[in-house]
Structures are given as structure tokens and as C-alpha cells.
Symmetry: C2
DNA sequence: CCATCATATGCCGATATCGGCATGCGTCAA
DNA sequence: TTGACGCATGCCGATATCGGCATATGATGG
């Protein structure tokens, strides 16, 4: 009985976490320092439960840390997880510098071959 | 009649496109040059329709180009769209270099305050 | 024109996602 | 202890997503 596999367990990785615009906004805000949930929600114009849910995702992939501060819970940035994303995209740096007006790797190979003759 | 808003129209942006592991694999493969759909599907161990669907997403966000080559359709990389992702993550570079052993921005602020007294 | 190859698309089922809401739970202050 | 505050969680509805499959579409060659 083949049970259909609906979705690759893509959840819980950093690429997925930052695919959400609001979560990216949260991370940007946290660069300025720790903040409680309510403040984040307010600054980003979302509800408190909404903020909490996004923070949960970010926490599960390790992009934020939380610590209790009395009645509040302060969320802080842990950007180390963004480094792999930076490096992965960096692996394409030489490609976005190429002129793509109408060319591509294949065509450029042809061009080079002609020059060598 | 408030119709519930289910999901932010996050589709069709680059962050979302590269959130899928298989799509990232496709991009990596295409660094070596253009390839037809079937070849990509084969190299990545996925079905042809599966490859076509992922390629469609990548094309819609501009990360790949396609051109007809006789009976085939060659897909090629257009990595320019990855640059914003690289730069966005780069905005956190100073943060992933900090020591997070047990510290965070807030605690560091406190430390500095003490030193100044 | 027809058969064939290459690719795209449509449909389906299972599940993940997101927002809104209500509510639970812990902490602090009076 | 009780009320108020801060936050997390659970439930729901709507929708997006992904894989598998069948099939449509398109181009090529005979």
C-alpha cells in the first residue's frame, strides 16, 4: 500500500525559515537587539500569536534565541545559521556577473572554442 | 464578509524558490551548463513531470532561462536573482561572527554599561 | 501525415502553511 | 491569593505545496 509522499520534509531548515517575508523582517529587527514578542508584533503590524508562531519557527532552526526576563521573554538574533545560505548563494557569484543579455554557459563555450581556433 | 487571508502571497519570489532542496540541486547542476529536462530529472532521481514543475517555479522567479533546441528544451542558469539573497544574508555577517556562547546584544550592552561606571 | 520523442499540464491525495481567534499557562504586583 | 500582563498553544478555515500519474501539447523525422 504505497502511501503517497506529499512533501519533502523541508520544514525546519533555514532556507525554509527565511522564505517567509515576515520572518525576514523579524530577523532584521533583531539586529538592533533583543526584543519581547509584543514589541515585535507591534512594530511589524502583526498579532501577538502571529509573532509567536514565526518566532517558534525561527527558534527551531536556531536563528533566534529566547531567554526569560521577568514577565517577558526576550528574543535575540543568532545569525550563524544564515552563513550557509550566504555561502551557498555565494557559490553563484561568478554567474551573476556574467552577461546574460542573450548568452548562457553553453553559448559562451562555443564562443571560446571559436577563439581558440 | 471577511474572507480569511490564508497565506501571504509569498509564492513567486526567489527566497521561496530556493527553499526547496530539489530546486537548489537543479540550480547547482545548471552551473555546469545548460541541460534538457529529462537529463536533469535523471541526474536528480526525480520524474520528468517533477523536474518540469520545479523548473517552472525557477523560471517564474527568473532563476533559469529556457530555449528551444530542436526537440529539446534547454534550461540554463540565470543566477542574478540570487544576488539579493546573498546580499540580504550578508547583512548579518557581523552577527554570525560574534560569540554567542552565552551572550547576546542585550547582555553585552549591560556589560558595557558596567564598565563605564 | 504519422509515429515518436521531449516536455508541459492537469488532476488527485496527503499534508504543510498561514492568519485569526480563543484560551491556557506562567509571572509579577498589589 | 487574585488580577493583570506576556506569551504560547490549540483549533479552524482557506489555500498552497509536493509527488505520482495520466495525458495533452509540441516538434521531429520518416
Amino acid at each position: 500500500m504505497m502511501v503517497p509522499m506529499a512533501r519533502a520534509a523541508t520544514t525546519s531548515d533555514v532556507f525554509n525559515a527565511i522564505a517567509e517575508p515576515q520572518r525576514r523582517e523579524i530577523l532584521v529587527l533583531l539586529r538592533a537587539g533583543e526584543r519581547p514578542v509584543t514589541e515585535l508584533a507591534q512594530e511589524l503590524g502583526m498579532t501577538q500569536p502571529g509573532a509567536s508562531k514565526h518566532l517558534r519557527v525561527l527558534r527551531e532552526v536556531g536563528l533566534v534565541r529566547d531567554r526569560k526576563a521577568g514577565k517577558q521573554r526576550l528574543y535575540g538574533l543568532d545569525a550563524r545559521g544564515l552563513r550557509p545560505v550566504h555561502e551557498w548563494t555565494g557559490g553563484f557569484e561568478q554567474f551573476w556577473n556574467e552577461s546574460f543579455d542573450r548568452l548562457d554557459a553553453y553559448v559562451q563555450d562555443l564562443k571560446q572554442t571559436q577563439q581558440e581556433e
